[in-house]
């Protein structure tokens, strides 16, 4: 087994550790830092350093090393924390994250950023405690401050290696073989013996116990390893290594750390009370989840989708048999049981892809802190419904729009602290992020208690921008104006927002996820931006329609109503464009059979059905032959094996096993216009003869 196989695990763990570190840094009360939190931050840095060193990511290792030393001073009370120091730590964390990304994509990390942050951190050390942090070389830092700093490189240089006894507790044969192979790569295995319960390997290695443990923790849990130094060749570093666990053990005992990093360097402390106190909690948390790649989950979801389709095919066959009175009651019972089980299975499988909104919300304390700092505003962030679950693909795509809305709220919504005080509001503005389920949708809200939106100013600005508005527009419509491209009411463009680019992108992004944005606002009281999203993209509520002999699916969320058009309501415009009057509103008419060239379709509009649809802000009437009904469909990508088709968003498989295409509402609109433009050149008017009659009649 090659060490490269562990890279991915390291990257994922390091990412989690960095996220933990950021969260802890943000929660840290600068004036009265909690020692448990400081310890947890230190441990996170320490674990990253260990891993980075093992895998030879030297830049990341050095950065973490310097940060770790500073953190070590901080947790010992030798360094007094200040807000600006925490900011620097956060910056260091960001740079470490960039370095991690660089290593992941097999590139060299940005040298300039690395040098800059090292310099900054060392400057802090010099200024605050008068210590130089160029650690390994400096005697001041090494012996007492950081036992961990005495790791790998210098050990390796000084000594031929330590003699260590690595005991593996309750490790099965397969893992054990892997681990022993791994140990062989780290040093010379001198002896090995024991059984499944306790298997001892005597090793001569130039790596420290910490590093060996860090490598093995990728395979087994820290509390399954016990490393002891024995008569070492170079006595001193060995002694340090052996001592360090003891030193850290009491801290670990004191810190059941709420979000403690997974691989803590506390393993050696097993005899101490630490284990007793921490073990049950940890075991429960870790055994209850496994890491699975998204591909595997998607594969299961696809297979279950297949199962559902097969089941509905069988269902149809059984009911056909019944119609011919050759049904069989046990067959029927079996079918209904199968149906129920298949639905249950589908639901449970879909829930695997669901992840809590916490993944999105957890980045906002940082965003709010940074933005508020830039704007000199004081903001309190409240998050509600962190455990609300949402499809993974949506979670990834909602983060950017949400960040934009939050920034916007902080910039334009919440007033400056002095202004707030003057109008009798608390100095500290309140920003609430909430998520909850509502029907088949998820509702995400960004609420602030700021100035609210000024309807008159929005209207004035809209006129200035040449938008078509009237004073009688509903509040809702007026507020939607902020989503118009290039629209900004900010008096001046700030660093944070105000350029008017963005809000339209936010709206487009959310619409592309099948969602919508609503705004409620009261002048002087605040604004509430609500995002309504479907729970998943994999399943869609559809309306099946028939045109000619072909079946299509319309996303139900786009359908407003359907009606039977009468001749009197249809008007021709400029020859070949047709509009229909629906309750005092004129809507363009698009006949599906024309746009998609369907043969044998009903060409007389009064005999077909007009479905009023809305998508991406466009509303029009779609002429179809027949409405079949509503059904849930499993969305299948057309681009996997084919390509993007204009007017079609994706496909699905119907109960009879045939493929039906899912229509793209705004794509059809574009396609229809393109076709008409092309048609004009060819002089092809026979399809529109009816409308000409309508015009004269």
């Amino acid at each position: 087994m090659d060490i490269a196989d562990f890279y991915d695990t390291f990257f994922e763990e390091a990412e989690e550790l960095l996220a933990d570190m950021e969260q802890l840094l943000l929660e840290l009360d600068v004036d009265d830092p909690d020692s448990e939190q400081l310890n947890a931050i230190f441990r996170a840095a320490h674990s990253i350093k260990g891993g980075a060193g093992t895998f030879g990511f030297s830049v990341l290792q050095k950065t973490t090393h310097i940060l770790e030393n500073l953190l070590d001073y901080a947790r010992k009370g030798e360094l007094t924390l200040r807000a600006d120091l925490v900011d620097t730590f956060l910056e260091a964390k960001d740079i470490m994250h960039e370095q991690l990304d660089a290593y992941r994509s097999e590139e060299e990390p940005d040298q300039e950023a690395f040098e800059r942050i090292c310099q900054t951190l060392q400057q802090i050390a010099l200024d605050e405690i008068g210590a130089s942090l160029d650690a390994p070389a400096t005697p001041a830092a090494q012996p007492k401050a950081t036992p961990a700093a005495s790791s790998d490189t210098e050990d390796a240089a000084q000594s031929g290696g330590n003699h260590l006894v690595v005991a593996l507790l309750n490790v099965n044969d397969k893992d054990r073989t892997l681990l022993v192979e791994e140990l062989e790569q780290l040093g010379d295995v001198l002896a090995q013996s024991g059984d499944e319960k306790r298997y001892e390997v005597t090793l001569k290695s130039s790596d420290s116990a910490d590093d060996i443990e860090a490598v093995m923790c990728f395979i087994i849990e820290p509390d399954q390893i016990e490393i002891n130094a024995i008569a070492s060749v170079a006595a001193e570093p060995g002694a340090v290594d052996a001592a360090s666990p003891e030193q850290e053990a009491p801290e670990a005992a004191a810190a059941p750390a709420p979000k403690a990093p997974a691989s803590q360097p506390t393993a050696e402390a097993s005899p101490a009370k630490a284990a007793a106190k921490e073990k049950p909690k940890k075991a429960a948390a870790e055994s209850s989840s496994i890491r699975v790649s998204v591909d595997k989950v998607d594969q299961i979801i696809n297979l279950v989708g297949e199962l559902i389709i097969t089941q509905s095919m069988l269902d149809q066959t059984v009911s056909d048999l019944e119609d011919q009175s050759v049904g069989n009651s046990s067959l029927q019972n079996g079918m209904s049981l199968l149906q129920r089980n298949a639905r249950d299975l589908q639901e449970s499988v879909m829930s695997i892809r669901m992840i809590p909104m916490e993944f999105v919300f957890s980045r906002f304390p940082r965003v709010v802190r940074d933005t508020a700092g830039k704007l000199n505003k004081e903001i309190e962030l409240i998050t509600e419904g962190k455990s609300t679950e949402l499809d993974k693909s949506l979670v990834e795509r909602i983060t950017d729009p949400l960040t934009h809305l939050v920034r916007n709220s902080l910039d334009h919504g919440v007033e400056m602290p002095d202004v707030r005080e003057a109008i009798g509001k608390p100095r500290v503005g309140k920003l609430t992020l909430s998520a909850r389920h509502q029907g088949g949708n998820i509702l995400i809200e960004v609420r602030d208690d700021g100035a609210g939106m000024d309807r008159d100013r929005l209207l004035a600005k809209a006129r200035e921008n040449g938008l078509n508005v009237s004073d009688t527009m509903s509040d809702d419509d007026v507020f939607q104006l902020i989503f118009a491209p290039g629209f900004s009411t900010a008096n001046e463009v700030t660093d944070v927002s105000g350029r008017g680019v963005g809000m339209d992108v936010v709206k487009r992004n959310i619409q592309s996820m099948g969602g919508r944005v609503e705004i409620q606002s009261k002048l002087g009281e605040g604004t509430n931006t609500r995002i309504v999203l479907p729970l998943t993209l994999a399943i869609l509520d559809g309306m099946s329609i028939k045109v000619g002999g072909e079946t299509f699916i319309l996303p139900l969320s786009t359908v407003l109503e359907s009606l039977q058009p009468s001749k009197d309501d249809m008007y021709a415009m400029a020859g070949d464009d047709v509009v229909i009057k629906v309750r005092d509103e004129y809507l363009p008419v698009i006949a599906i059979h024309e746009v998609l060239d369907v043969e044998n379709a009903i060409t007389d509009p009064t005999k077909s059905i007009a479905v009023i649809v809305q998508g991406e802000g466009r509303r029009y009437a779609m002429l179809v032959d027949e409405l079949i009904g509503q059904q849930q469909v499993v969305v299948k990508n057309l681009e996997d094996n084919y390509r993007k088709v204009p007017g079609i968003s994706s496909a699905t498989i119907l109960g009879d096993g045939s493929v039906a295409l899912i229509l793209d509402i705004s794509g059809l609109h574009r396609l229809s216009r393109l076709k008409k433009e092309a048609g004009k050149k060819v002089v092809n008017n026979q399809n529109f003869s009816f409308y000409k009659e309508a015009e004269t009649s």
Binding site: E306, N637, E639, I653, V659
Partner: protein, 165 residues
């Protein structure tokens, strides 16, 4: 593939290769059998609007949406009929699954390198770029189609080309 290239391939692969032989009208064609995933009947194809005429549409292959191409239309054959004998060869090319409609599948042939002759450069409908050679088998001639190149080519319009969209 140019002549020089196909020559290089021939010398490099001294072993014989297996080909699936299919017919389009009176002509016999063959594809590398390793590209073939399965053979099935022609049924239940959903038309795709505004696509070239040789793209018959998409079908459901055990949950995977697969485009179906009729090579007879693509190669301008005179008679294009769909019946019980009409066969779809499902091939795997460039990480995609595509079905090609042919008049019939006859057999699997093993061709030794010296039985594969370079294709002359003359094709207009079927450019010799899309051929890996001509196979001679007694008095039969097999047109060896380089199915990868053919199906991923721009004129097949099966793959989103970076230039057009």
């Amino acid at each position: 593939m140019s002549q020089a290239n196909s020559g290089a391939v021939l010398t490099a692969e001294a072993e014989s290769r297996e080909f699936l032989v299919f017919s389009l009208g009176e002509e016999e064609y063959a594809v590398d059998i390793l590209k073939v995933q399965e053979i099935r009947g022609y049924e239940n194809v959903t038309r795709i609007a505004n696509a070239p005429d040789f793209i018959k549409g998409v079908t459901n292959l055990r949950g995977v949406i697969v485009p179906i191409v009729d090579l007879r239309i693509k190669f301008h054959l005179e008679s294009v009929e769909y019946g019980g004998q009409t066969v779809v060869i499902v091939v795997n090319v460039a990480d995609r699954v595509v079905g090609i409609v042919v008049d019939g599948v006859s057999d699997v042939m093993t061709l030794t390198p010296d039985q594969i002759k370079p294709a002359p450069e003359f094709g207009v409908t079927l450019s010799s770029d899309f051929l890996s050679g001509l196979g001679s088998l007694d008095d039969r001639m097999l047109v060896l189609v380089d199915i990868d190149k053919l199906l991923t080519s721009e004129e097949m319009a099966l793959v989103d080309s970076t230039s057009s969209h």
